[in-house]
Symmetry: C2
Subunit: 441 residues, 2 copies
C-alpha cells in the first residue's frame, strides 16, 4: 500500500481560485513558470535538506476537482458558471523540475519549478508551499540533530507534540530520511516501513507498588527488548533496580537492552548510571536519554562527556522549535515568453526559468553553487534539478525511503563540516550566473 | 457531512502498546484516572483556550483496531498472540470529563480527565496530547491576536505555512473558534462551514502588462468582492490605480471592496493609502494588511495609528511561532483506588481525580480558580469540567462551531484585560484545595 492520501485541490487559499477565475474570464491560458525557493534573510540554517516531493508528484498526478468539491465551489456563489464548467475538467498537464528528496540545498536556489498553463500552475501554490515547506523544514532540522549526535542513534519521539496528525507522520518520515534510526510513531512505522522503537512511561512504574515490581513485570513481558525508565522516583536508585532486573534476565539467557533517563542533569546522571551498570556487571546495557533534546543540547551533552548511547528526540525537532517555519515562496518567474518579477521591498524576485549547478572538488566535497538560466550549461558543474513530470505524467518510479535516506547521507557527507555545527550560519557560496543577472535589467 | 476522519489507534507512540502488553501479561486491568494539563513553567501565555475535544470524542467513540492494524502489530514480532487477541476486541469503555471547547483555562488545571481500565486510558495518551495540545495551542494564540485587534476583523491566511495538512485545517477551525472572522482555506470552509475570504497574489499582477490592466481584469471578474493587491511595484502608485478602478466600478453600480498591503511600513503606508482613497472619493474602500502579523505587531500597528480595517494573519499565528508547542502532559493520578504521582525533578505531578472550580464576581468576571478533588463541592464556584462520555458513549450532541465560538467570546470577555495584552504573563490566581494538597503527603 502507499501512504499517500489525496487531499485534493480545495486544500488552497481562496485567492488561487479567484485568480484562476480572473485568468479564465480574461482568456489568459498562456504557459507560466513558477519557482519554489527559500528566502531566509535570517540565516537560521546554514543548509536545507529537500523533502516532500513524493507527496507532490502523487497529488499532481491525481489533480482533479471531485463532483462534491465542484458543488461546494458553486454553492459559495463566488464563481460564474463557465468557470465552474472549466475547472470541472481541469487536470495538471504541466512539467515539473525538482531537486530529489535528500538533496542538500541553500537559500535562493529553486528546489521546484513548475511549467504549466498559468491557471494550473497558480492553483498549486498553497499546496506546494505547505507540503514541500513543512517536510523540508523538518528534514533540515533533523539533519542538524544527526550531525550533532556524531554517530549516536536518534529516535523520533515527537508524535505527542507535533502540530497535528499529518505533521506527526511527516516528521517520522522526514527525520528518518535525514538519518534518524527510527520512530516511536507506530502508524508511521506501518505506512513508511520505518523501524519503530519504544520503552515505558512513568505511569507504568506508578501502576505498581514498587519500581522494582514494575521493572520485573515489564522485563517478563519483553525479555529481549526491555528498556527501563529509571527516573520516576530517584534515578540512581532506579539504576540499581535495573541492575537487579538485568542480572535476573541474564540468568535466564536474556539481555537487558537499556535504561532511559528522562529528567535531571543528563551529563552527570548518565555517567553515574553508566558506573552503576558497569559495576553491576552490565556493561552492554545501553543508556537512552530523552529530555527536551535538540541539536544544541545533544552537542553540549556529548561535549561534556555524557554516557548516552541513543537519544529520543521529541518536540523541539518535531516542530523545529527554534525556527518553526521557512520563509519559502512560490513566485512566477516567466510568463508567455517573457521573464517576470516583482519589486516589493524586501520581497523582490528574480525572473527566468532556473537550474542550480554545483561544483565538487576532487574528493566529491561541495565547493559552490551557481543559479543559472535553465538553458545554460555550466562546465564542470552538476545540475541539481531533474525533470520529474512531463505533461502531468510522473517520469520515474517513486524512490524508496531507504534510497532517499542514502542520498541524504551522501549529500550531508559531501557538505563541509563548517556548515553542520548547530551554531553554523556561515553562507555556503551561492552565486547567480551572468546570464541570469543580465535578464533582470 | 462531518469533517472527522478516523486516524485510528496506531497513531501512538509504541510504548503505549508495549506498556499495554505489560499490563495484560501481568493481569493488570484495574481502573485508572489520567489527567491532561499544561505545566507551562515558562509563563509564555497568561491564558489558554481549550480546543480539540470534538475530534477526541469521535475518535474515542470509534476506538477499535482494524484487521489491517492488527496484522501490522502481529508482523512487528513484538507482541505475543494472547495480547494480539486481546486488543482485537478492545474498545474504549471509559468515562471522560472535559472542559468544553472555548473555555478559558490556566496551567496546572486539568482540561481532560479519563477514567478507564488502565490499558485503555494508557493507549489514548499520544493521541490526546497531540489533538488537544495542538488545537489548544492555536486557539490560544489566535485569541491573543483577536484581543490585540480591538474589534478589527482577522482572517486566517496561514495555510501555506502550517505544519502539514491536518494543521492547516485545525488552524482554520481553532482560529475561527477564537474569534477570527474567516479563513483563506477553502477546504476548511467546506468542512467546517467557515466563511472563506481571498484577494489576489503578486503573480496575477505580473501576468498582465501593467498593474492597472491586472486590476481592471480582476474587477471585471469580481465586481462585488474585489480586493486589489497594491504593493507589487509601488504601493502608492498601486493605490492610485485602485482609485481609477474603484471609480469605474462605482460608475457601474459596484463598490470596490478593498485594497491589500503586503510589504513595507504598514503604519505609514496605510495612512497614505487611506488619504489617497479618501481623496479619490472612495472612503468606503477598506484597507486589508498582511505582512507577518501576530498579536504583537497588530497591537503596535494600531497603537501607532495604522489605518487598517482587517488583518490577514498567517504564519506566526498558524504555527504559534513564538511558542510552537505546549508543555502539555497526560499523567496517571489515580489507580486501583489510590492516588498516584511521580517525583521526577521539575516534572512532579499531583495525585487525585480533579475538578476545576471558578469564582466569578457580580459582573460575571473571573476572579480565581481552585483545583480540587472531583468529589469536592466548592461553595459559590462553578465547576469547569463536564462529563462528556460515559462507558464509551458520547453524552451530548456535538456543539456547532458557531456555538463554541460564542462560548470562547464570552469566556474571553469575562477574563480581566490584564491577562489579554500581548505581553501579559501575570499569573491569574489558581490555587489547590486543602483536601487536594492533603492527599499529596
Amino acid at each position: 500500500m502507499t501512504p499517500f492520501k489525496r487531499i485534493g485541490p480545495l486544500f488552497t487559499d481562496l485567492y488561487e481560485l479567484t485568480m484562476a477565475a480572473g485568468y479564465h474570464r480574461n482568456g489568459i491560458f498562456e504557459p507560466a513558470t513558477f519557482s519554489l525557493f527559500i528566502r531566509d534573510h535570517h540565516r537560521q540554517r546554514a543548509f536545507y535538506l529537500a523533502a516532500g516531493l513524493e507527496d507532490v508528484l502523487q497529488e499532481l498526478a491525481d489533480f482533479r476537482f471531485s463532483p462534491e468539491e465542484i458543488d461546494y465551489l458553486r454553492e459559495t456563489g463566488l464563481f460564474q458558471t463557465d468557470f465552474i464548467d472549466y475547472i470541472r475538467q481541469l487536470h495538471f498537464s504541466g512539467d515539473v523540475y525538482a531537486m530529489p528528496e535528500g538533496t542538500v540545498f541553500f537559500p535562493e536556489e529553486p528546489l521546484v519549478e513548475i511549467d504549466a498553463p498559468i491557471v494550473e500552475a497558480q492553483l498549486l501554490e498553497t499546496y506546494l508551499l505547505n507540503t514541500i515547506g513543512f517536510q523540508t523544514l523538518i528534514a533540515s532540522k533533523a539533519a542538524r540533530c544527526v550531525q550533532a549526535a556524531r554517530g549516536k542513534a536518534l529516535i523520533d519521539f515527537s508524535l505527542r507534540r507535533t502540530q497535528g496528525q499529518d505533521a506527526g507522520l511527516k516528521v517520522a518520515r522526514s527525520s528518518y530520511m535525514a538519518g534518524f534510526a527510527g520512530t516511536s510513531n507506530v502508524l508511521a512505522g506501518k505506512l513508511y516501513k520505518i523501524p519503530i522503537s519504544g520503552t515505558m512511561a512513568h505511569s507504568f512504574v506508578t501502576a505498581f507498588d514498587t519500581e522494582l515490581a514494575a521493572f520485573e513485570a515489564y522485563a517478563d513481558a519483553f525479555p529481549d527488548s526491555c528498556v527501563l525508565l529509571i527516573d520516576t522516583y530517584d534515578t540512581l536508585q532506579g539504576a540499581r533496580h535495573a541492575v537487579t532486573v538485568g542480572r535476573r534476565l541474564a540468568q535466564k539467557g536474556h539481555l537487558l537492552k537499556g535504561v532511559r533517563l528522562d529528567s535531571g542533569d543528563m551529563v552527570a546522571l548518565s555517567r553515574e548510571v553508566r558506573r552503576i551498570l558497569d559495576a553491576g556487571g552490565l556493561p552492554d546495557v545501553k543508556i537512552f536519554a530523552s529530555s527536551g533534546f535538540d541539536e544544541f543540547s545533544i552537542a553540549r551533552a556529548l561535549e561534556k562527556g555524557a554516557c548516552i548511547d541513543a537519544f529520543g528526540v521529541g518536540t523541539k525537532m518535531g516542530v523545529s522549535a527554534d525556527a518553526p517555519y521557512l520563509d519559502i515562496v512560490y513566485k512566477m518567474v516567466h510568463f508567455n515568453g517573457r521573464g517576470v518579477r516583482k519589486l516589493s521591498p524586501g520581497k523582490a524576485t528574480r525572473a527566468g526559468h532556473k537550474q542550480v549547478y554545483r561544483r565538487l572538488d576532487g574528493r566529491e566535497r561541495y565547493l559552490e553553487d551557481t543559479v543559472a538560466l535553465r538553458e545554460e550549461r555550466l562546465h564542470g558543474m552538476q545540475p541539481l534539478l531533474e525533470k520529474v513530470m512531463q505533461s502531468g505524467q510522473i517520469l520515474q518510479p517513486i524512490a524508496s525511503l531507504d534510497n532517499l535516506r542514502r542520498r541524504a547521507a551522501s549529500n550531508l557527507d559531501a557538505l563541509d563540516p563548517v556548515y553542520k555545527t548547530p551554531s553554523a550560519h556561515n553562507g555556503y557560496p551561492v552565486s547567480m550566473s551572468r546570464r541570469l543577472l543580465e535578464i533582470q535589467r
